[in-house]
């Protein structure tokens, strides 16, 4: 205390605040560019590169003005945010590779080509559907994206009045990225980032229906999901729809908050995966006549864990990129969001490993990988709103929850999910949505408001129970609407073209009957009785 007092006395008195001095065009003109002779000799330390001579001049006759400098500052901010959003979008796109090898490794070698091809072509199928119609439904009425310079053409939402309040249902601008003035640089950035998110949701489904899904049915189902199922819920949550406005219209916290998509991406994917797995039914040999489950183990755990690492890497695009910018509006939270992401993934991996070790005597490798993914899925919604301790708790719960959910789906529901997609993405997507309503600490500040409500997102443990209600309405919408929509759509596809391959094709492996080529043609594949380790 005494030392502190003496240090305080040693400080010089703070100078009185000086009155701000206006900067004029004359001051700007006094700023000299670097000497041309010195510049010609090269700039090894970078001190001469990026100076006043690089600021764009609006009118050559007037020379550089204050207006030019301000415009350059604005463009620099938007440029930083464009580059940030695009690069993080590229990282998310690379997650497709992670999903592909995780799912293929968890399936049998005789289905390797088929599983890889589903993961490969879901990228193109989803993108086509999203470009044609999905993007317009999701983002056509978002009403401006400040970090990216506005994107003003995305301004038309179809609204229905219910209980005297506007309920945004779907966007109407952006078909083919041309209609409604959407041939626009900012709209292109929004499209790329949202497209790779949509594709992540679609590729979740290929895991739960793997090893018995007819390829043609997969194409149709994925197209419809990319065009309608995903964009509808994404509009309600992110595109200016009714869930996002639960705060402004009904006083429920800051409305439904899903920072990077535990609900929008993972729960939509996981619940559609559940609908598909229920419709196609379990693989032959998965259950005995008495309903006892057999373990059908995958063919390459090296692929599985490598894929998990690729996904964890891509998640640094998924969550921090969801600020849609690195400059302005509280976007320096990207550091906190990235750390929350890695902490929750770690905690999820530990949670699952220790659970399996205690329950079954060994630290199961594939479930440890699923635990890592479960932690990442769960932190996706709250990553922008919670502190590091909250992130670890959320991840740890996710790691245990994924194990419990896999057992429940496998043994109680008797739904065959070869890769655990329903539990990793469905159960933990829902947990992530709920965790925002519990752990959001009210310290985030993205430009002073969220979803049009002033203040920071605050959960039950920090004093706002109404935020939890908004999150739970999102959860019920996912279970009661998105699942039903997906289930009905896929029942119709089943009735029209059939979802499941023939028993003969399934026993032979889908590589030859469905794809016409073996995944591993130089290896002799031997059948092993289901359940054998």
């Amino acid at each position: 205390m005494a030392l502190g007092a003496s240090l305080a006395l040693a400080q010089p008195a703070a100078p009185a605040a000086a009155a701000p001095v206006p900067v004029t065009d004359a001051d700007i003109k006094g700023v000299a560019p670097p000497n041309a002779d010195a510049r010609v000799k090269g700039d090894p330390d970078g001190g001469l590169t990026g100076t006043v001579s690089d600021v764009a001049v609006g009118d050559a006759k007037k020379g550089l003005t204050v207006g030019d400098v301000i415009n350059q500052v604005g463009q620099n901010k938007v440029a930083i945010n464009f580059v940030w959003t695009l690069i993080t979008g590229f990282l998310v796109m690379f997650m497709q590779a992670g999903f592909a090898i995780v799912e293929t490794g968890l399936c049998r070698a005789k289905n390797a080509n088929h599983t890889m091809m589903m993961n490969f072509m879901v990228y193109g199928t989803g993108m086509l559907a999203y470009w044609l119609i999905g993007f317009a439904i999701q983002m056509g009425g978002v009403g401006g994206v400040g970090n990216l310079g506005g994107a003003p053409p995305l301004n038309t939402e179809h609204v229905m009045t219910l209980f005297g309040k506007p309920f945004g249902l779907f966007g109407q601008h952006g078909l083919f990225l041309m209609q409604g003035g959407t041939y626009d640089v900012a709209v292109m950035v929004v499209f790329l980032f949202q497209m790779v998110f949509m594709d992540t949701a679609l590729t979740i489904v290929t895991g739960s229906a793997a090893e018995r899904w007819k390829y043609a049915a997969f194409l149709v189902s994925s197209f419809i999901m990319g065009a309608f199922t995903y964009p509808l819920f994404a509009n309600w949550a992110w595109g200016g729809g009714w869930l996002a406005n639960l705060g402004t219209n009904f006083g429920l916290g800051k409305g439904y908050c899903d920072f990077a998509g535990s609900g929008v991406v993972h729960a939509v994917g996981g619940l559609t995966a559940l609908a598909l797995a229920m419709i196609v039914g379990p693989r032959l040999g998965k259950y005995t006549r008495q309903g006892k489950p057999n373990a059908i183990i995958g063919h390459d755990i090296v692929l599985v864990l490598t894929g998990c690492f690729i996904l964890a890497f891509g998640w640094f695009g998924f969550n921090p990129g969801s600020t849609l910018g690195a400059s302005g509006n509280g976007n320096l939270r990207i550091g906190s969001i990235a750390v929350n992401t890695m902490l929750a993934g770690m905690a999820g991996g530990f949670g699952a490993m220790f659970y399996m070790w205690m329950r079954y005597g060994k630290p199961d490798a594939s479930m440890s990988g699923n635990g890592l993914l479960a932690g990442l899925v769960a932190i996706t919604a709250p990553s922008g709103f919670v502190n590091p301790v909250g992130a670890v708790i959320i991840g740890l719960i996710a790691g245990v929850l994924v194990c419990l959910s896999v057992e429940f789906v496998d043994r109680v529901m008797k739904v065959d999910d070869p890769v655990g997609a329903i539990s990793v993405h469905g159960a933990n997507g829902l947990w992530g949505v709920i965790s925002v309503g519990l752990f959001a600490d009210g310290k985030s500040n993205y430009g002073g408001s969220w979803n049009g409500v002033t203040g920071s997102v605050t959960g039950l443990f920090y004093g706002d129970a109404s935020q939890l209600v908004a999150q739970l309405i999102g959860v019920v919408t996912l279970v009661g609407f998105v699942f039903v929509f997906s289930f009905v759509v896929n029942l119709i596809i089943d009735a029209c073209i059939g979802q499941r391959v023939s028993a003969k094709a399934e026993l032979e492996g889908l590589d030859l009957p469905e794809m016409g080529q073996l995944g591993y043609p130089e290896f002799e594949l031997k059948a092993r009785p289901a359940g054998a380790q």
Partner: protein
């Protein structure tokens, strides 16, 4: 059975949306939304899935 399950699952969603107008209290809305979630889960797990299991491929 499947059609009834679909309706019950969807009914849970309708209940959650109705919570927005049935009351303005946070606790009241929380109760109704949780009831909606329970109804949806009953529809999904207790009716749709149970119905599908009756004709499961492993029973044949």
């Amino acid at each position: 059975m499947t059609a009834i399950g679909i309706l019950v699952t969807f009914l849970g969603f309708v209940l959650a949306v109705l919570s927005l107008t049935l009351t303005t209290s946070v606790n009241g809305r929380l109760f109704i939304v949780l009831a909606g979630l329970a109804v949806s889960l009953i529809g999904l797990i207790g009716i749709i899935n149970k119905g599908l299991l009756k004709n499961a491929i492993w029973r044949k």
